[in-house]
């Protein structure tokens, strides 16, 4: 079980650009749950992932993974508990290394890296077997440089790499956002399959409300650094995108238009739109 309690993160404190990315966020994720996270730009989605993976430090609050307080742990130390797939296909893999070397790097995540050989026959056959799951023919290209793969292939391999070893939670950071619609659908389907088959606990950030509702077992919406709604189960199943927008308005008590939310318009602009509407009516 993962729990974040009263997590605060502020960037550029004391400067004119001060940005309170997370403002007392509370979130508990039981084992085996697949949470999708949505929210407009600047809502704190990426910061939430960074705080979980250890690349951003909370100034207040705590992060507990299975009873262990990891708030002060560095990113590499947390890697044995937390796996991550980045938005940028270039970020999650090393293009200078071969496919099998990338897999070997991920295979040793969370264990001590010895002076033993990184690759041997048994590992290669394991990697080949895992890659064949993708159905991309990559199992015959183990020695190819990662840089030769397309963005979608790299993202699929990243996903596979992140699930090579055990973890407490898998973080997916808009991992299909940089892909074309068809490839994105393929990677999403692959994600669903892997999460289900391995019964993983996962947290997926997405920009698409459709994807957020269609995947996972629970959906959380962030706004201005806090959770404005959190739904699961039957209530979630009966929900559609317009219902979600309504829910969001109720939760905030705001009158943001649908477009504002989808386009990530700032509060000031939204206010201006509202004033304009009142004047014209």
């Amino acid at each position: 079980m993962i729990s974040l309690s009263d997590v605060h993160v502020t960037f550029g404190r004391g400067t004119p650009l001060e940005h309170r990315a997370l403002r007392g966020l509370d979130l508990t994720i039981p084992e085996g749950e697949f949470v999708t996270v949505i929210g407009s730009n600047g809502a704190g989605k990426s910061t939430l992932l960074n705080v979980l993976s250890g690349t951003a430090r909370p100034e207040r609050g705590s992060i507990i993974v299975d009873g262990t307080d990891v708030t002060r742990w560095s990113a590499p130390k947390r890697a044995k508990l937390i796996a991550r797939v980045f938005q940028d296909p270039m970020a999650g893999t090393c293009e200078r290394l071969s496919i099998e070397e990338n897999m070997a790097l991920a295979f040793s995540r969370g264990s001590v890296r010895s002076f033993g050989r990184a690759l041997d026959a048994s590992r290669r056959s394991l990697f080949r077997e895992k890659l064949s799951m993708l159905g991309l023919g990559l199992e015959n290209r183990l020695g190819d440089s990662m840089g030769l793969l397309s963005g979608g292939q790299r993202q699929a391999v990243s996903l596979l790499m992140s699930t090579l070893t055990g973890m407490k939670i898998l973080l997916l950071d808009e991992h299909t956002a940089a892909l074309d619609p068809r490839t994105a659908a393929f990677v999403l389907e692959l994600t669903r399959r892997i999460v289900e088959e391995q019964r993983l606990t996962a947290l997926m950030v997405t920009h698409s409300m459709r994807d957020a509702l269609d995947h996972g077992t629970r959906t959380v919406m962030l706004h201005e650094g806090t959770i404005v709604f959190d739904i699961a189960g039957d209530q979630r199943k009966s929900l559609d995108v317009p219902d979600m927008l309504n829910l969001f308005r109720q939760a905030r008590g705001d009158e943001l238009s649908d477009d504002n939310l989808l386009l990530g318009m700032g509060a000031k602009q939204a206010a201006a739109v509202k004033v304009g509407k009142t004047a014209s009516s």
């Binding site: 947390r78 970020a91 070397e101 040793s108 002076f115």
Partner: protein, 307 residues
């Protein structure tokens, strides 16, 4: 070019093969352009020469030189990682400081090592082989001894870089963010890698002192660029992703480069003298860096006009 100068070129090439391996680790594996090597090469020479001329066993002297080089690397990595000083500047700072340190170690600008025991004496068992070959005795023995040392170091390095630990070091240089997400403590790998690189260069310096028969505070000038020249030359000849071949190509590049230089210096009509070495090296490295940028657009132009 006569046989003696060819053997001399191979000898210095083998010494610089170790420099090339060090530069390969810092510049290529870690993506950490480390200029400390201009100071750690004479550091290795100074430590070995000072100890050997002080009556200490050459093995101990050479090992001490390696340790000193590693420490110099740690200082540079520390300035960069702990205090955020740009890697190039961190290396220049350490290199500048090492000039004075080297003078302190030697107590004077140079130490001759004539008629002193050296590491080469450990390879005296090769003497019958050298005599049977009919090649000039002492220079050939030195080349064989260096060849064995470089082969062992190269094999160890290849084994290291293909291990889990070495692979993690390569990932640190290639994509630090990914490395951290995979649980690799990238700072530790940078410390170890830069230390290893400078340890190798100091070993080269120690061997230089023992084969050339002297140590001098000025022998380090241009070490980094000479190492880089060897790495680039090797990379150009052997275009490869394999670490084992990459390491071999560094060694090959270093020797090939020295033979080419010796040929150029021996050719009267070019009018070059040995003091022009650094100018030639710098021009060659600059050309190697510029050419890919000039040739590719030209190639695409040619292709376009062809179709």
């Amino acid at each position: 070019m006569n046989l003696i100068s060819l053997i001399g070129a191979v000898e210095i090439g083998l010494v610089f093969a170790l420099v090339a391996l060090g530069v390969y680790i810092s510049f290529r594996v870690l993506d950490f352009p480390d200029l400390t090597v201009d100071g750690s090469f004479p550091l290795g020479a100074a430590v070995a020469a000072a100890m050997i001329s002080g009556g200490i066993n050459p093995i101990t002297g050479t090992l001490a030189a390696i340790v000193a080089g590693c420490l110099a690397g740690v200082v540079t990595a520390w300035l960069n990682i702990r205090f955020g000083i740009l890697h190039l500047l961190a290396g220049i700072l350490t290199m500048t400081a090492l000039f004075s340190v080297n003078l302190r170690i030697m107590g004077r600008p140079n130490i001759p090592l004539m008629n002193q025991p050296t590491l080469i004496d450990l390879f005296a068992w090769l003497r019958p082989l050298v005599e049977a070959s009919g090649l000039p005795g002492r220079p050939t023995l030195k080349v064989l001894a260096l060849l064995i040392i470089v082969s062992v170091v190269g094999a160890l390095l290849a084994r290291f870089l293909t291990s889990e630990f070495g692979l993690a070091m390569r990932a640190t240089g290639a994509n630090p963010r990914m490395a951290q997400a995979q649980g690799i403590p990238s700072e530790m790998h940078t410390y170890i890698g830069v230390a290893m690189a400078n340890g190798l260069v100091a070993l080269a310096g120690a061997l230089f002192a023992q084969t050339a028969g002297f140590a001098d505070v000025t022998v380090g000038t241009g070490t980094a660029i000479a190492g880089l020249a060897a790495v680039i030359l090797g990379e150009t000849i052997f275009r490869t992703k394999s670490i084992v071949i990459a390491i071999f190509s560094c060694v090959f590049g270093a020797i090939g480069y020295r033979i080419a230089i010796a040929l150029a210096l021996n050719t009267g009509w070019l009018g070059l003298q040995s003091s022009d070495l650094n100018l030639v090296t710098a021009v060659l490295v600059a050309m190697a860096l510029i050419l890919p940028k000039v040739v590719n657009p030209m190639r695409s132009l040619l292709k376009r006009s062809a179709t």
